[in-house]
C-alpha cells in the first residue's frame, strides 16, 4: 500500500489521483502505524518550509518518516516535500528538516536568476548516477528555493537562467523530485512508474 502523508499542507488531491493510477491501493494517512506498514511513502508539500515542518512535528510524523527511512521503506518527497528531506532550509529564517539528505535548501541566487519563482516546464538532464533510465522530457516546476548542488545526490537537474537546479535527488531508498510529477503529463507518469520499479527491486 502506498501512503501519501496527509499533514494538512497544500493540495494533495492531484498527488492521490496520479499515484492511484499506478498503485490502486494508495491512500492518505497521518497515522504512524499505517505509514510504517506502507510499501511506499509519498511526502507531498506546497507552501512554506517552516509551516510544513511544524505541521509534521505537531503530528509526530517527522519521527515516523525518519523511522520509515531507517526501515528502508521507499520514500518520495515532492516539491516542498523533497526540500523537507534535507537537513536545513534558509526559507524565511533557518529551519531544521528531516535530515535524510545532507545540505541546506536556499533561495535562488539573484545574480544567477532574475525571475522568481522558477515556474513552468523545464527539460530534465539526467546524471551518470541516475537510476532512472530511458526517460527524457519536460517536467513542471514551481518553486523559489532549491536544493544544494551536491553532485553525489543529484540524479537529474535543469538549467534555469544561469542556475543549475537539482530536479531529482536521492540516496538509497530516499528520493526527491523538485517538480510536480503528478502535473508533468506523460513524463511525470513515467517517472512515478519507475520510482515503483526501482524501489521494488530494492525491496
Amino acid at each position: 500500500m502506498t501512503i501519501i502523508i496527509d499533514y494538512g499542507v497544500g493540495n494533495i488531491f492531484n498527488v492521490l489521483n496520479a499515484f492511484s493510477k499506478i498503485d490502486p491501493d494508495t491512500k492518505l494517512s497521518a497515522d504512524p502505524k499505517e505509514i510504517l506498514a506502507a510499501s511506499h511513502i509519498i511526502l507531498p508539500g506546497v507552501g512554506a518550509f517552516e509551516d510544513a515542518m511544524k505541521a509534521l512535528e505537531a503530528l509526530g510524523l517527522d519521527e515516523t518518516i525518519k523511522t520509515a527511512a531507517n526501515m528502508n521503506i521507499p520514500i518520495l518527497g515532492i516539491c516542498l516535500g523533497m526540500q523537507l528531506l534535507y537537513e536545513k532550509s534558509l526559507e524565511n529564517g533557518e529551519w531544521q528538516g528531516l535530515g535524510l539528505l545532507p545540505g541546506t535548501i536556499d533561495i535562488f541566487n539573484r545574480d544567477a536568476v532574475t525571475t522568481i519563482p522558477h515556474m513552468g516546464w523545464n527539460d530534465l538532464i539526467f546524471t551518470d548516477q541516475s537510476p532512472f533510465v530511458n526517460i527524457s522530457g519536460f517536467a513542471y516546476f514551481v518553486h523559489s528555493y532549491l536544493a544544494p548542488p551536491d553532485a553525489q545526490y543529484v540524479y537529474a537537474y535543469v538549467t534555469y537562467e544561469k542556475s543549475k537546479v537539482p530536479a531529482i535527488v536521492g540516496t538509497g531508498n530516499v528520493y526527491g523530485m523538485q517538480f510536480h510529477p503528478e502535473k508533468s503529463s506523460a513524463t511525470g507518469a513515467k517517472l512515478i512508474q519507475q520510482f515503483y520499479e526501482l524501489t521494488q527491486e530494492a525491496l
Binding site: 516546464w121 519536460f138 518553486h143
Partner: protein, 252 residues
C-alpha cells in the same frame, strides 16, 4: 532550459466554454472537460478556466467542475472568477486547482493577496489585471472590463507583487479579440518593472503573434482563447513555429 508556455484560456458560463470579443458578445461552444482533454493531449502547457459570470452574479467559484478537470488532465491549471475569500482559495486548491487567479476581488480587497500568499505560497496566487489605455495612461479595469478604476496599471501591479502575487496575467482590453497580436508596448512596460513570471493575454491572432511575443520580450507565457477554440491555429502548429525560431518549447 525553461520552455515558453502556451496557455489556452477557457471562459466558462453556465457549464460551457464560451468565447466573446472585447469581453462582450459571448457565445457558448463546448463542454469544458472535452476541450480541456483535447488541449492537454495536444501540448498545452497549462490551462486557465475563468468563471466569467461569478463576479457579476456575486457568487463563489465552480468547485464541482474544478475537481472533474483535475481528474481529467495531468497538466497544471489555474481557476479564476468569483474568488473573494481565503475560503474560496482553500476550496479551489483542495478541489485540485494548482493556482488561483484573482482580479476584481483582489482590487477591492488587496489583503486577500497577502493572506492567500502567506497561507498557500506565492506560486499559487495569480494576479490577473485587465488593462485599457485611457488618454495615454494604462488604467486598471475591473468587473470583466466594465469598471474603470482610474488606477494606473503599474502602480497596482507593483502593489500586488509586494503583497505576494507570484505570477501576473496581463490582459489588454484594447488588444482582446482584435487578433492583431499581443499588446507589446504594454507588456514591455510591465516586464521591465517586475521579477515575477508574466502571462500575456489578449490579441493573439495567429502563430506568428506568439513568435513576436517571445522574441521581443522575456515574457514566459502566452495565452489565447478564440484562435484555439475555433481551430484556426493549433498548439502543435504554434510550437513548431516557435521551435523553428529557436524559442524553447516543451515537446511532449
Amino acid at each position: 532550459m525553461l520552455a515558453k508556455r502556451i496557455i489556452p484560456c477557457l471562459d466558462i458560463k453556465a457549464g460551457k466554454v464560451v468565447k466573446g470579443q472585447q469581453f462582450e458578445n459571448v457565445v457558448s461552444i463546448a463542454d469544458p472537460l472535452e476541450i480541456a482533454k483535447y488541449y492537454s493531449d495536444t501540448g498545452a502547457d497549462e490551462l486557465i478556466f475563468y468563471d466569467i459570470m461569478a463576479s457579476t452574479e456575486d457568487r463563489g467559484p465552480f468547485l464541482n467542475l474544478v475537481s472533474q478537470i483535475a481528474k481529467t488532465i495531468n497538466i497544471p491549471f489555474t481557476v479564476g472568477g468569483g474568488v473573494k475569500s481565503i475560503d474560496d482559495f482553500d476550496a479551489l486548491l483542495k478541489s485540485g486547482a494548482d493556482k488561483v487567479s484573482i482580479n476584481t476581488q483582489a482590487f477591492i480587497n488587496p489583503s486577500l493577496i497577502k493572506a492567500a500568499s502567506l497561507k498557500y505560497g506565492a506560486q499559487c496566487v495569480v494576479l490577473s489585471v485587465d488593462i485599457k489605455k485611457v488618454e495615454d495612461e494604462y488604467i486598471v479595469f475591473t468587473h470583466g472590463g466594465r469598471t474603470n478604476t482610474g488606477r494606473k496599471a503599474l502602480d497596482w501591479i507593483l502593489e500586488g507583487i509586494e503583497l505576494g502575487a507570484g505570477e501576473l496575467c496581463i490582459n489588454s482590453i484594447d488588444a482582446d479579440g482584435s487578433k492583431k497580436g499581443f499588446d507589446l508596448p504594454l507588456l514591455k512596460q510591465i516586464e521591465s518593472e517586475v521579477t515575477v513570471p508574466i502571462i500575456a493575454s489578449g490579441g493573439a491572432g495567429d502563430k506568428m503573434d506568439f513568435v513576436k511575443l517571445f522574441k521581443e520580450t522575456t515574457i514566459s507565457a502566452g495565452l489565447a482563447a478564440s484562435i484555439f477554440h475555433s481551430k484556426k491555429v493549433s498548439i502543435p502548429e504554434v510550437k513548431f513555429e516557435l521551435k523553428r525560431e529557436n524559442i524553447p518549447v516543451r515537446s511532449y
